[in-house]
Symmetry: C2
């Protein structure tokens, strides 16, 4: 489980994907540097929770100067936004091009189960930042990232031979993975993440069985 | 379909139920007056959409002075909040004590279908005000009204013999009826409400079948 609640961070105007285009102009060493900082930040968030990760700690963990972190990300909110983009890009890479069960080639129902579990893991690590980013319903529902997830889930439902209104079933499934809802279940109601993950598996099977 | 978007109204600190306690001290004629105003406001909202209902029009429709409406509800936001409480109280009355298929005595799966359809009708009429009231996820998820709905849905799932994690399935079902999501499907994506209602029926059957 990640961390205790902290002050809400700035919403993420930059959580737009795919990220590849935005990074094309980075020089290779700058890109390596960025990835090293974000990997270090990700490890620290996983270990300590978002609330306890400082710019200084990230600099130390990545073995770069503090100034480099501030120049790169502006402030703590900027770093956390970049970290979510980084994690989201990895998630998309995994379900679009990675190995089964998440990636292509596996059974569509198992891929759907794996997608939900990967998203729940992301909410577990970055719940606070995601909640802040997704707190405005209009923005969340119109967000490009949600569009990528919806396309993926709808395509798996079709592959699984689901005969219902795939678009509406997709909305229901994604609503179940909503960061605010999962955070509430986990941190307010005290449901372990493993239970929420089992609930997802059960829901996917109910929705897809013929 | 109700109305075009308008400026967001004040969130509803008073959308707490049951309402009976709050109304006990009203004199009978004041209560009748209040109900007459809210019935008139409800009819106007259904006819014209929330954005086109003024305090003056409500006064005229209820055949009372404009001053009475302002004294009673303070301002337009106060009137709309009272109207949602009124509609929500009617909905709860219907599923707790009314005739089947919504009320007790009917088949639990049909009651679940009817509950969703009644909630969708309410979102259709009061979507803008509900969206404003429910825009903050923390408040929405901890709201007493949501608690009443969750208790009802969970109890119907158990009555229907559903063997899974009823609490998590309840959260998924209620997330599907979220005002912001339904508004987005209806007003942004242009899905007719009848399609959304059919989607709910299908989802309920998928979730409850053994």
């Amino acid at each position: 489980m990640a961390s205790t609640p902290t002050a809400p961070l700035t919403p993420l105007p930059t959580l737009a994907l795919p990220m590849a285009g935005a990074q094309e102009h980075e020089r290779a060493d700058a890109a390596r540097n960025r990835r090293r900082l974000l990997d270090a930040a990700g490890r620290l968030v996983a270990e300590r929770g978002v609330a306890n990760v400082t710019m200084e700690a990230v600099a130390a963990a990545a073995e770069v100067g503090k100034g480099t972190v501030f120049r790169r990300f502006g402030d703590r909110a900027g770093l956390m936004n970049a970290l979510i983009n980084h994690t989201e890009t990895d998630l998309q890479e995994a379900f679009l091009h990675g190995p089964p069960p998440l990636g292509p080639g596996g059974d569509p129902v198992e891929r759907l189960v794996a997608f939900g579990h990967a998203r729940l893991e992301m909410v577990d690590l970055h719940g606070e930042v995601l909640r802040a980013a997704e707190s405005c319903a209009e923005k969340r529902l119109a967000h490009p990232t949600r569009g990528v997830h919806a396309t993926h889930v709808a395509s798996l439902l079709r592959d699984a031979g689901v005969s219902g209104d795939v678009q509406l079933l997709t909305d229901s499934l994604l609503a179940t993975l909503d960061a605010s809802l999962v955070w509430h279940q986990n941190h307010v109601l005290g449901m372990p993440l493993a239970r929420i993950a089992d609930g997802w598996t059960d829901l996917v099977h109910r929705v897809t069985r013929c």
